[in-house]
């Protein structure tokens, strides 16, 4: 059984905006799944429809086998949502917010309190439990929304850009937390603009653009398609005129750094050897962007420099 199964899902808004154009998608139980796409691609519409906050025009959604047209409430019981925008009452305390959320799912208050203590502690917001939500920083609000979504211990957790605007340290701690709950059996679907995040966390990936799924595969398979890697080489001495190498194309960034594209069939040792022969010494090397980011941009630009292996 799939944790999430979407068939021919279509959404046309009142202003004739065709946000989703008959998409199909399956997420396996226990998966950590990335849903990527540029702004306006249809990610939030898709999540809105899954969570029943947006009405679909046609198509079918099943959450752990529960067709949302037939058994919406059973589907909702399996689902936890962390939305992109803050959507809790600013006048309530953090504890009130999560206890109320648990109450909406019919969870007795005693159990709800125990869960609140557990998730607040794990997410590092226990000492903020009695603070009004409006007094929290952006990062704390994100953590509160994650705790709220977990109060009914959903089997499927969907997070819409959970680390947007969150500092690096907090982002890393949230990654660890999400990996832990995924390892404990929760299926996770994540949308993010930090492609490093998707690459580090997710096993499978779908890319949505202009209402269509343009890629749906495993992360390993997708990254394996990257035929060229772009590196930035930092030089020990300034180089004003770049030599012409037989196998590699160099691009000058500034006198102290150059950019080079290396096909995956090529060897970095050959590059260093060629550069050494030209008396160019390298003191540092780094990727221009992370691998997924490079693929993502190429996919969206519809470039042909990938081969589908």
């Amino acid at each position: 059984m799939y944790a999430l199964e979407i068939n021919h899902l279509e959404k046309i808004y009142g202003n004739n905006l065709h946000a989703l154009k008959g998409i199909d998608l399956q997420v396996n139980e226990g998966d950590f799944f990335a849903l990527l796409g540029p702004n306006g691609a249809g990610k939030s519409t898709l999540i809105g429809i899954i969570s029943s906050l947006v009405t679909k025009s046609s198509g079918q959604i099943k959450i752990f086998g529960h067709d949302t047209d037939i058994d919406l409430n059973k589907g909702k019981s399996c689902l936890g949502i962390v939305p992109q925008e803050v959507n809790f009452s600013f006048w309530e305390s953090c504890m009130e917010i999560v206890l109320n959320q648990a109450g909406y799912y019919g969870i007795p208050r005693k159990i709800a309190y125990e869960r609140a203590e557990k998730y607040f502690t794990q997410l590092g917001i226990w000492d903020k439990r009695n603070d009004r939500s409006r007094t929290l920083s952006g990062g704390l609000k994100r953590r509160l929304m994650i705790a709220r979504a977990l109060m009914h211990e959903p089997k499927l957790l969907i997070l819409d850009e959970p680390t947007a605007g969150v500092d690096v340290e907090l982002r890393r701690s949230m990654w660890k937390f999400l990996l832990d709950i995924n390892q404990n059996g929760t299926t996770i679907v994540l949308t993010t603009h930090y492609l490093e995040e998707a690459e580090n966390l997710c096993r499978n990936i779908a890319i949505i653009d202009k209402g269509n799924i343009i890629e749906d595969t495993s992360m390993k398979n997708l990254l394996g398609r990257l035929s060229t890697y772009t590196y930035i080489l930092e030089l020990t001495e300034a180089c004003h005129i770049l030599p012409s190498l037989r196998e590699f194309q160099l691009h000058q960034i500034d006198p102290m750094s150059i950019e080079v594209e290396v096909h995956r069939d090529q060897n970095l040792n050959d590059l260093f050897k060629d550069l050494s022969e030209e008396n160019i010494q390298i003191c540092n090397i780094r990727n221009k962007s992370n691998r997924l980011e490079e693929l993502f941009i190429r996919l969206l630009d519809n470039k042909d420099d990938m081969h589908h292996g």
Binding site: S51, L79, N87, F88, S89, G103, Y104
Partner: protein, 257 residues
């Protein structure tokens, strides 16, 4: 969701609603007490003796039931309209909409919240009235049932207003331009028998007239209209507004995209 879980969800909404208006009691409970005190002083103590008796009662006694009912109507309506629109505005209504709560429970939770505020304010205003006049209950059953049903009816009205509202202006238009005129022309300050035949007939179209008179009958034992008919009118409006509100929730009108 089993019946126990549904009950917990219902309690949660009611608890949240009641906590909300009690937390801001200075905005929800106190103002009606102050304004009703002024009504009793001005219309009851100062002007009332010059008006004389109405339907056989001193003017203060005559207007007290209507003023209590006015507080119940205003507060049950404004509680739900403000709370539900606030939840829409801050988007925390989504907390409920993503949860497996039946629409009937969401509606019932908000309505009971409105009824609770209407009743608490009604009790406060009754206590204020007792400083100015002697209130003797003619029929407890009628008093309690009319006040409860009226609070339910106007909570439903507030809910529907909140569903349609897009701005804060939208939640004040109906109370200002519809509710207030209907309340003032609903026989709170006068018996409709004083009106010319034409205006008496027009007054009978106003549903609030039936609630005020039924409540007045429960307290004083006098009414301009038939009590059974008044109950039928109130129940009919409750049924219509309940069906309408549930239809709006089911369709997600102005709640879902």
């Amino acid at each position: 969701m089993g019946s126990k879980r549904i009950l917990i969800a219902f309690y949660t909404i009611v608890f949240k609603e009641v906590s909300r208006f009690l937390r801001i009691w200075g905005q929800t409970i106190l103002p009606p007490a102050v304004s009703m005190t002024l009504y009793f002083i001005i219309f009851g103590s100062l002007i009332g003796p010059r008006i004389g008796r109405m339907d056989g009662f001193v003017y203060m006694e005559f207007i007290a039931p209507g003023l209590i009912m006015m507080s119940v109507i205003n507060n049950s309506y404004s509680n739900v309209v403000a709370s539900f629109f606030g939840a829409k505005f801050q988007r925390h209504i989504e907390e409920m909409l993503v949860a497996p709560i039946p629409d009937t429970i969401i509606l019932a939770g908000y309505v009971i919240g409105g009824v609770a505020r209407g009743l608490i304010v009604g009790i406060v205003v009754t206590l204020v009235a007792m400083f100015f006049t002697k209130l003797q209950i003619h029929n407890y059953f009628i008093v309690i049932s009319v006040v409860m049903l009226t609070a339910v009816l106007f909570s439903l009205g507030g809910f529907i207003n909140a569903v349609y509202a897009r701005t804060f202006d939208d939640i004040s238009i109906v109370p200002t331009f519809v509710l207030t005129p209907l309340i003032y022309l609903g026989g709170i300050f006068y018996s409709i028998e004083l009106l010319p035949d034409f205006w008496e007939g027009v007054s009978r179209i106003n549903p609030i007239l039936y609630m005020v008179n039924a409540f007045r009958y429960g307290i004083l034992g006098v009414s301009d209209i038939d009590i059974t008919f008044a109950f039928a009118i109130i129940l009919m409006f409750i049924i219509i507004l309940t069906i309408f509100a549930l239809t709006l929730l089911k369709k997600g009108t102005r709640i879902k995209s």
